[in-house]
Subunit: 498 residues, 2 copies
């Protein structure tokens, strides 16, 4: 593993990207399959990334005036049915509870006591939250109502993939009600900005902000805004969505408020969510053939101390040096929180121990042997550099610069990701180039599209390519649809997607 | 409501304790029933208490070496069956998923696509986590394995009550594996101490630490430790449990490790949990006939500023004063976190606004009118004092003493709760007194009990009283069972319970 020209993860990205992804997850101990079809176990190293994502997003949600609450896991069938397009979109993947007891029968447990009305496990909570909102909203004084929920949802997907597509999903879902269309529209856009800002700032994951086409929007929404990220295989990952729901759900759920003059109006609503899928995006944005690479701001831990313990006579003094250094580093603050430092005292060979942390993607590794203690220094390796690229640093100097090293790494990882992304977005103007790009190349294509045409069906069928989004940023030149030649108001983003 | 000798909550505790409890929850906007039988909606003010409970417990779990992870919501029927006593204990209240799709039939949606094997929604996760642990644990080097999960569970209870007993429950469940019986036993006791310490320090809820009798223990456990709190009606609330599981679940789930000499042994396990029930306990420990009383350390917000805004000419300067004071107070730290301050600018009558915060239990209310701005002071009311007991305080002095006021209130509330508890624990030595105590009085009885007798059945039948716990603290004198006259190794705690 530590041999030259050999990588810690096999296969490499080049050899088999899909398997590489799963091997990175396994080697970093992020998650694994469970005994329940399609459900994953999120292991401590993976879960701590989710905790960090939650903490920072939650801070941003509260900063923008949202409050957390909690709503039931179950939705009565009769509620789900109220919005036709919505139920149509989710019916195929609903897990349904039909009984509320088990009884022994012929020595085997079987479901007993059928429910009067079957309950669906929430695939998303518009209908059950809407039912409650109809009681909370009476007057314009109750608005805006800005609620978020951290919860699990279930979508019975037939083909699952760790973090990217699972039957049970951890996520957050924001649900808001406003007095005017403009306010709701502004909220949907604001939350898209919150997601985008978080991805750029914390995950070092450059995302495109855009709007879904009618065919790709959330069932029941008027407009679905989204952020799309480019993975290292050039495929797109939808990393978050924010929906302007108009009055569709307030009509279905009877959410009405009286305005200044006492006139009753239906509320204007939004909903928005991100999931543990963000961790899949994080993995595929930064990781390399040696395993996971974690941007420091989201890393489970920032620094690991690796004492070299094979000489019993030095063991005690090396450990004492490490304990003291750990304490000193934990006194530093990074992003408003104490630095997270691990001291790995396991009795493993140095190479094995070192590689386990490379594969886990910890930003900084410090090897501490007798020489380092003697010279009062550390031997530092950084996850964004080659694993042989290690430097000695005076202890004092390292402590002084630790935060700077982390921030430099954060910037470096973002810079790389942006460079990769920009190098793999092609502006394409002919059908021939378009087909050739997606048949032989990788990346996103910016090309013209006629919204009134059937171009989406054609490229989905021929190339398995979809319109990821209608970009919100950049210039909006008119042109001719690259597939049908029809009129196009602006270029849109095409890609194969996860 | 603000009239003399009239309380904000009706009925009062004296009049109807059970209804008083529900009215306190309603008036404080903590939670409400949902459209789904037995499931509650936790409203923002209630959920923020849960967030505070989570944050502090999570800190204590991590401090004692535990890591968070996440396991599936579902348990295959065949897994649940592996531990006979366990499945027997939960079979009657399991929600069962039997289908994974909905289809329209005669214009109505019905469950379609039956699952090959029905899935139970976790009522607790021993069996699904055990299945994963059997893969994680191979060698003694993998131990101790110290895992916690924050999750929702479902227990289909027929009689539900907000926070105390609901079909869906938010909780945490710790699951650990150890190499020796002693270590596992010590872990179960340690986590009981963590729970108890948290209840005393944060919730100002004095709890008794004890051990459940064989008849009351967790299905599948060897020993169940518990904390029991006394509510203001003298009934007991089981506030948390910590189980020493022995090798029962490691045998059922095949969790084996090789010891130093390579010999395979089954792991020794524990599990422990607390739920949103703690909020029910918090309510019934401190609240009064004017509504919720929140101990400052767990309060959603600490201080509310109530500007007196009915004179338009003063409005601007009063609001400016409040905004500035809010900012100054938010710069203070309480329990390592910024002080949580609310500025209530709503256009409501002063009395109505003030009472809404009394009912929400916020620790400190500051009224700010033109006089306060003029004199650079605040008009302070504290939730542990009568609502008419308000004092003027210089602004500078208030800011200087705010943290002290909060800590004084925290201590005062604990002192009151301890005094109430101690006044309502009776030491009882005869059957006659025992029956008379539970027929006419309220509180806990400390009395002798013969573990080999059927005394538990008798008192449950006659009085609806149970043994809440065998105390771990206090002196252990021998005696004669108060019901049967048989030999008793020590006094135990009897009460009616939630």
């Amino acid at each position: 593993m530590s041999k030259k020209n050999q990588s810690a993860i096999s296969p490499t990205r080049e050899e088999n990207y899909a398997d590489w992804y799963l091997e990175v997850i396994k080697a970093a101990e992020l998650a694994e399959h469970s005994a329940v079809r399609g459900c994953m176990v999120i292991k401590p190293w993976g879960y701590s990334i989710w905790e960090n994502i939650k903490a920072e997003l939650d801070r941003r949600f509260k900063e923008t005036g949202h409050q957390n609450a909690y709503f039931p896991l179950f939705i009565p069938l009769s509620y789900l049915e109220k919005e036709a397009e919505h139920v149509e979109g989710f019916a195929k993947e609903c897990a349904v509870v039909t009984h509320h007891r088990l009884e022994a029968k012929d020595g085997k447990l079987v479901p007993a006591a059928p429910l009067e009305e079957p309950l669906v496990i929430r695939p998303t909570s518009e209908m059950i939250i809407g039912q409650t909102f109809s009681k909370w909203v009476q007057s314009h004084r109750d608005l805006p109502l800005l609620i978020n929920q951290w919860a699990n949802i279930v979508r019975w997907e037939m083909r699952t993939r760790l973090f990217l597509r699972t039957a049970e999903i951890l996520w957050q879902e924001g649900h808001t009600v406003h007095a005017t269309e403009e306010e709701a529209e502004a909220e949907a856009r604001q939350m898209l900005d919150v997601y985008s800002g978080f991805c750029w700032d914390y995950l070092a994951m450059p995302v495109f902000k855009g709007k879904k086409t009618a065919g790709e929007k959330f069932p029941g929404a008027v407009t679905t805004y989204c952020i799309e990220a480019m993975m290292q295989d050039g495929k797109a990952l939808q990393a978050g969505t924010s929906h302007f729901l108009g009055q569709n759900f307030s009509k279905a759920c009877d959410i009405k408020f009286s305005d200044d003059e006492g006139k009753l109006e239906h509320g204007w609503m939004t909903s928005w969510g991100v999931t543990t899928r963000l961790i899949g995006g994080l993995i595929m944005t930064h990781s390399d053939d040696d395993g996971l690479v974690l941007p420091p701001r989201i890393a489970s831990s920032h620094i690991v101390l690796l004492p070299v313990l094979h000489q019993p006579e030095n063991r005690e003094k090396i450990l004492a040096y490490c304990e003291e250094l750990k304490k000193e580093l934990e006194g530093l603050h990074y992003q408003g929180q104490p630095l997270r430092v691990v001291l790995d005292k396991r009795d493993l060979r140095g190479g094995e121990k070192n590689w386990s942390w490379i594969k886990k993607g910890i930003p900084i590794r410090l090897e501490i042997g007798a020489r380092e203690v003697e010279a009062n220094q550390v031997f530092m390796a950084r996850r964004n550099k080659a694993h042989k690229d290690r430097v000695a640093d005076k202890r004092e100097s390292f402590v002084k610069n630790a935060i700077k090293y982390l921030e430099d790494m954060q910037k470096d990882l973002l810079k790389r990701a942006v460079a990769f992304r920009d190098a793999n977005v092609a502006t394409i103007d002919t059908k021939e180039d378009f087909y050739s790009f997606f048949k032989t190349g990788k990346g996103f294509a910016l090309a013209h599209w006629d919204p009134s045409s059937n171009a989406e069906e054609i490229i989905q069928e021929d190339l398995n390519v979809t319109i990821r989004s209608i970009p919100l940023e950049g210039k909006k030149e008119k042109g001719e649809c690259v597939i049908t030649g029809g009129p196009s108001p602006q270029r849109v983003l095409f890609a194969k997607a996860y």
